[in-house]
Symmetry: C2
C-alpha cells in the first residue's frame, strides 16, 4: 500500500482560525443578536480601484476577440509586467529578468521550499506567518513537533519581541541555510530599520545563508527612511530572494498575483545560479498567473493606478490609526500600526486566548491571539486594520467604552 | 554555503521546445520569407466563447463594487463552483467536497508529488507529458538520468505504442506506489477503452497503488462508449485521483483553471484519508484560484456555456480531421485525432528529429518530434490540432502537395 508522507504526518492541525470561528459561533449561539465585528484576519475589504477594475475588465473582454486572445504565456510572467514590477518596485535594484510573476506569495513560498529540498536548514522569526514553518515541515526540512516547546524540532526560531525591538539577537543565532524574514512584519507590525536589515544581510553573508525576504506589506511603510525591499541593503543581492505580493497592495487577496525576485548573482555552493533552478521550478510545476490578471495589472501600473493603490493603502492605514488609538486607550502596550496594517498589543497577566475571549465576550470584537503565530506571540493580540470604515469605527467605539 | 538540491541537479535541460524554436529560427534566417505554420505545441488559439467572456468580464467588473468585491476565498475553491464541476463532469461519480479547484493541472501535479513525498515510487506512460517525470525527479522520487536509456533510473516507464494498442502490458509491470495515466493521451492521441481502464484499476487494486489520472482532454472524446473519467470504472474511487483542466475545454491555457478530485474513501496504508492530506497541501501552499476566473466559470457553466464549450472543441476536432487526412495522404501510419486533438504519426525509417526537419524544411510546417516525450516516442511525430482554421488549411495543403 502507499505510505503516508511522513512529513505531512508531522504537521499539526490548523488550529488558529478554526478555533476563532468556533468561539465566534459559540457566542452567536448564546447571543444571537450580537453584531460581531472582525479585526481578526488580514483580509482586504475595499473594492478594487477604478483603474485596476477597468484594466481587468478589458483584459477579460479582450480574450473573447481574435486580437485580444492569448493562450499559454511564459511561465515566468508577461515580459512587460516583469519590466513594470522591476521599474516600479526595484528601480536600480533588480532587472525584469530577475522578476518572476506568480499567483501569490504563499504559493511562491511553497515552491521556494521545493527548490531548496529536504536537506535545507531553516530559521524563522517567532512569531511568524505560519506558511514558512508548515511549508518547511511538508518539505522534510524539520524534525517532529515538540508539544512542550510548541515548536518543531530542527527549526531555528528567532524570537522577536518588544524587548529586542522585534529584531533577533543574531550574535547568538546558529547558522541555517535559509532565513525567512518578513518586514513590515505579520503579525507584529514591526518594520525593520535599515541598520537592522544591514545586520541581517551581514549575518547571512558571514554564514553564506540565503534570506527569503517577505515584503508583502512594503507600501504600508509611512516612514520614508525605512527600507521597503531587502535589496535596498548593500550586499543583499548576494544573499537574498524577495517575495512580493499584490494581495495587500491592490486588494488582490482573491484576485491572486505576486512575484519573486531572484538576483542573477545568487549562487549555490557549487556555483550554480539559484535563478536557474528557480526558473526550472517555475517552468516545470507552474504555468503562469492568469493572463487576465497579468494583463490587467500591467495596464494599470500607471501613475494613476499607483495613486489609487496608495489611496487604498492610506484608507487601511487610517483604520490602523483609529484602532491603535483605541487599543492605547484600553491601556494596552502596543506596537505596529504605523508602518503596517497590524497592531500588536500586549495583554499583561493574561494569555492570548483569555484576552481574545474577553474582548469577544465584552465587546463582540474578534481579534487574533498572538500565540497562534508561535510561542513568542503568547501574551499578545493582533488587531488587523483591514475592514470597512464603519465597522472599524464601531469596533473602536466599543473598545473605548 | 547553501547546497544545491541534488534532485534539481538531476533534471535534464528542457530540450524539446527550445530546440524546436532554434531550428525554426535557423530556417527563418536562411529563408526570411518562409511562412512557417505551427502544428507543434498544444496551445489553444480561438477566442473565448461569448458566455465565458461575459461572465469573466462581469466578475472583474464586480470586484470594483462593494457588493461584488471578495478577498480571500476558500483555498479549495468556491463552494458553488466545486458543486458545478461535480454535477457537470462527475454526476453520481464524485461529490462537491471531493473537487478541489486550482490554477491548473500542471500545478496540481506538482502539488500531488509534494503530497506523496520523496519515498513514493512512480510509473509513467512512455511517451508522456513531461511534467509527470520532471516533477517526480524534483521531489526526489527517482534516481539519476540514464543517458544510455534516455530515462531516469528508478522510474517505471510503461511503453505505449501501436503494437500494444497504446496500453501497457501490466502482467509484466512491477508494482509502484503511483501510476500516472493520461487518456485521451498526450502525445499519442489514444483514448483508452473501458476494458483497458478496468485492467488498470484492477492492477492498482491488486498492488494497492494509486492512479493519478489526467483527464485534461476528456471532452475531445467523440466515441460515446469511451470513459471520460477514471471514476466511470468500477472500483476506481478506491485507487484513483483525477486531475482535470479547463485549459483545452474552455481555451483557458492562459486564463488558468483546473481541478483535482480526491475520493473520500482513498486511504494511505495507515488508514489516513488521502483527501485530508490533499486539503492540507492546498490550504498550506496554495491560496485559491483567481476569484475572477472562478466566479466567471461558475456563472458560465450553464447549458449555453457548455454548448459553446462543445462548439469550440468541435472546431478543433474538425482541424484534427483535416490534419489526420493530410497525414494519411502522406502515407504515414497514424493514430489519434479521432477522440483527441493530437495525431501521432509513425515516420518509418527516420528518427523523429529527421522527420521534423524534413517537414520543416520542405513544407514550413512545425510538428513535435515524438522522441521529446520519451524514448518510446522515437520514430513518431505529433501533430497538434490547435490552430486557426486558415493556418490548418494552409498546412494541410502544403503537406498534401
Amino acid at each position: 500500500m502507499v505510505e503516508r508522507n511522513k512529513n505531512m504526518a508531522k504537521l499539526q492541525a490548523g488550529y488558529l482560525f478554526p478555533e476563532i470561528s468556533r468561539r465566534k459561533n459559540a457566542l452567536l449561539k448564546k447571543n444571537p443578536d450580537a453584531k460581531i465585528i472582525s479585526l481578526g484576519i488580514g483580509n482586504t475589504t475595499e473594492p478594487l480601484s477604478p483603474c485596476i477594475t477597468n484594466a481587468l475588465r478589458d483584459a477579460a473582454e479582450g480574450l473573447g476577440t481574435h486580437e485580444g486572445y492569448s493562450g499559454y504565456g511564459d511561465e515566468q510572467g508577461l515580459a512587460e509586467l516583469r519590466g513594470k514590477i522591476a521599474d516600479t518596485f526595484y528601480p536600480k535594484l533588480a532587472s525584469a529578468e530577475e522578476v518572476f510573476v506568480s499567483d501569490g506569495a504563499k504559493c511562491d513560498i511553497g515552491r521556494i521550499q521545493l527548490m531548496f529540498g529536504s536537506s535545507a536548514t531553516v530559521a524563522v522569526q517567532d512569531p511568524a506567518y505560519p506558511v514558512y514553518v508548515d511549508g518547511s515541515v511538508m518539505m522534510g526540512q524539520t524534525d517532529n513537533y515538540n508539544p512542550l516547546q510548541k515548536q518543531f524540532d530542527g527549526i531555528t526560531y528567532l524570537a522577536c519581541s518588544p524587548e529586542n525591538n522585534f529584531f533577533p539577537g543574531l550574535e547568538s543565532t546558529s547558522r541555517t541555510d535559509l532565513i525567512y524574514f518578513c518586514s513590515p512584519n505579520n503579525p507584529t507590525g514591526a518594520a525593520s530599520a535599515r541598520d537592522q536589515l544591514t545586520q541581517l544581510v551581514d549575518f547571512a553573508k558571514k554564514n553564506k545563508s540565503i534570506i527569503i525576504f517577505d515584503s508583502a506589506y512594503r507600501d504600508f511603510i509611512r516612514d520614508k527612511g525605512l527600507p521597503r525591499s531587502i535589496f535596498e541593503i548593500d550586499g543583499a543581492r548576494e544573499v537574498a530572494i524577495e517575495v512580493g505580493s499584490f494581495s495587500k497592495l491592490l486588494g488582490f487577496t482573491g484576485v491572486r498575483l505576486g512575484w519573486t525576485v531572484v538576483p542573477k548573482g545568487l549562487k549555490f555552493d557549487d556555483g550554480h545560479p539559484v535563478i536557474k533552478d528557480w526558473n526550472r521550478v517555475m517552468t516545470t510545476i507552474f504555468n503562469g498567473a492568469s493572463n487576465i490578471v497579468q494583463t490587467g495589472v500591467c495596464n494599470a501600473l500607471t501613475e494613476q493606478g499607483l495613486r489609487e493603490m496608495h489611496a487604498t493603502i492610506d484608507f487601511y492605514m487610517e483604520n490602523a490609526r483609529l484602532i491603535k488609538d483605541a487599543v492605547t486607550s484600553l491601556g494596552y502596550e502596543n506596537y505596529g500600526g504605523v508602518n503596517s496594517p497590524y497592531i500588536w498589543a500586549r495583554v499583561p497577566g493574561k494569555s492570548s486566548w483569555d484576552a481574545f475571549e474577553e474582548i469577544l465576550e465584552e465587546k463582540h470584537v474578534v481579534t487574533t491571539p498572538g500565540s497562534g503565530f508561535g510561542p513568542a506571540g503568547e501574551g499578545f493580540l493582533r488587531f488587523s486594520a483591514f475592514g470597512h470604515r464603519e465597522d472599524v469605527e464601531e469596533a473602536v467605539k466599543r473598545l473605548k467604552e
